[in-house]
């Protein structure tokens, strides 16, 4: 899923400074799963903002909304009938959702309420870690199902580097060395022959480096 973290409340309050009435828009997609932008978070953030603004003597009206997905036109359109009644929309969807709202609702300023993180997984309640950078050319079949682009701090295709100590990456003692994980898995799968091969230079043009990407599925159009 796409993960995120709430922006510091002071930063949000600063963004809201010019406005007296806004929509606070959550999303039932990924950010609900990682507990940063769903219905419950909309309620909590709205209450916090109202209280803070009341305390500062400048009340704010907040309409609480939770769309099924902010990255899908059919759900974004649900806001259209009333969006003009508000001065701004504070969205706590991921960066894609916020931008999609901004594209579709052109007359109202869109404000980001969260910082979008990464494509990751839930390790346990309250902990998410990165797994995928969406580089557009998957090699997981060669690397024991562990991604060198994402899990190695240097995205090496022939790791590990000298900074791997007892399975830990030198960059952070909380980060496991991706290449130690790959090698352990290749050994367990009896696929070490994959390690001993020189891999072709990665084509980063399938990643973001090729410019903003799009997917066309002719069979679906």
């Amino acid at each position: 899923m796409i993960t995120g973290t709430p922006k510091p409340i002071d930063e949000v309050l600063e963004m809201l400074e010019p406005y007296d009435n806004i929509i606070l828009a959550g999303c039932h997609g990924c950010v609900t799963v990682c507990r940063v932008g769903g219905e419950k978070e909309v309620q909590v953030l709205a209450s916090t903002l109202r209280l803070a603004r009341e305390a500062s003597g400048k009340k704010i009206e907040i309409r609480e909304v939770s769309l099924e997905r902010q990255c899908d036109p059919e759900y974004v359109e649900q806001m259209r009938p009333y969006v003009e009644d508000y001065q701004a929309v504070l969205s706590i969807a991921c960066g894609a959702g916020i931008q999609f709202l901004a594209e579709k609702i052109t007359t109202t300023p869109l404000l980001p309420g969260i910082n979008t993180g990464f494509l990751g997984v839930t390790e346990r309640q309250g902990e998410w870690t990165e797994r995928c950078q969406g580089c557009g050319d998957c090699v997981l079949h060669l690397t024991g199902g562990i991604c060198p682009v994402t899990r190695c701090a240097k995205s090496l295709f022939h790791g590990p580097c000298g900074g791997s100590v007892r399975g830990i990456c030198e960059v952070d003692k909380e980060i496991k060395c991706g290449w130690q994980l790959i090698i352990d898995r290749l050994v367990a799968l009896d696929q070490m022959e994959n390690y001993g091969k020189l891999k072709p230079y990665k084509g980063w043009n399938s990643a973001r480096d090729g410019g903003p990407r799009r997917i066309i599925r002719e069979d679906m159009i």
Binding site: A153, K154, H158, G163, V171, Y201, K202
Partner: protein, 308 residues
């Protein structure tokens, strides 16, 4: 000859090679490099010039190479893939070759987290293994990775680095083999303190027949003090300094620790010389270049051979 570099010739003639390294300064003052060069000159077959080591910004490696070359030392350019994509790497390879640099060391580069600019974007477009491969292709086939023909191939003696002590140990020799197959002509090792483990590494390398195909230059860094030993052990990832090594220098009074460190480095070189498959010694006297003559001479490796 692949490159015709002095280092390549010395090794090809069967001599034990000696290399050292110069870290360029944290500023634009060329005299610092010239001063270091004066300590190196005549004592080595080639001298590495580091490339923003530990991600701390310094004068560029190529500029450092030119400065020591002017002083009559054969340069060995270090090139990391942390800061440059394949376009910049190819361009710098051509530039260095055009300026007469004939030795190259291909490295990943320390992560930017450890340097001046932890917020910098890292590149890692290709990795060090692929840089070796790319250079070999440019040198031997005379083509860019794109397939276009080069107008003048860069003639490098291609090197790589290995840390025989990093984890996981079982892939350290396969990784060296992979670097050799990618095109490395020589390898400089991380500083060795754990001789038992290094000998074990060399036995495995010999079993694979690697020393016949890639020149192994063993890394030595003299310890200035017990404090330095403890600091390196604690702070440098993959640095294996056994307790007895630390104890030996720590047992000396403070003012005699530096001399002890040099004595230990000399002894270590003597021991490394005897290990089958070791083709050279790489002395990394970090900010201690003035001791190179004493160390290299003390180990009986002076004067350096002249090979035509």
């Amino acid at each position: 000859m692949k490159s015709g570099s002095n280092l390549e010739k010395v090794l090809a003639a069967g001599h034990l090679s000696v290399t050292a390294e110069c870290g360029p300064p944290r500023g634009a003052n060329p005299d610092i490099v010239r001063k270091k060069a004066a300590f190196v000159k005549g004592h080595v077959d080639a001298c590495n010039v580091t490339d923003n080591q530990t991600a701390v910004v310094r004068m560029s490696s190529l500029a450092g190479c030119m400065l020591i070359k002017e002083e009559g030392i054969e340069p060995l350019i270090q090139m990391v893939v942390r800061d440059r994509n394949r376009i910049a790497l190819q361009s710098d390879l051509l530039g260095a070759a055009a300026m007469g640099v004939r030795n190259l060391l291909c490295l990943s580069g320390d992560h930017q987290k450890f340097g001046d600019d932890p917020q910098a974007k890292n590149v890692f477009d290709i990795d060090s293994m692929q840089l070796i491969h790319m250079t070999k292709m440019m040198r031997d086939e005379g083509v860019f990775p794109s397939g276009d023909k080069l107008d003048g191939a860069p003639k490098f003696f291609i090197g790589c680095a290995v840390n025989p002590f990093a984890d996981p140990f079982e892939i350290r020799v396969p990784r060296l083999k992979l670097k050799m197959e990618a095109g490395a002509d020589f390898v400089q090792t991380q500083c060795i303190y754990n001789m038992t483990k290094f000998k074990e590494y060399m036995e495995l390398a010999l079993k694979e027949g690697l020393p016949e195909k890639i020149k192994i230059l063993a890394g030595v860094t003299p310890l200035k003090s017990a404090g330095m030993a403890k600091f390196m052990r604690r702070m440098v990832a993959g640095m294996d300094i056994p307790d007895e090594v630390v104890k030996r220098i720590a047992d000396e009074p403070k003012e005699k620790q530096a001399a002890k460190g040099i004595e230990m480095a000399i002894e270590q070189i003597q021991e490394l010389k005897e290990i089958e498959g070791v083709s050279g010694i790489h002395v990394m006297a970090i900010e201690w270049e003035e001791k190179l003559e004493e160390i290299i001479g003390g180990a009986g490796l002076l004067p350096r051979p002249v090979v035509e």
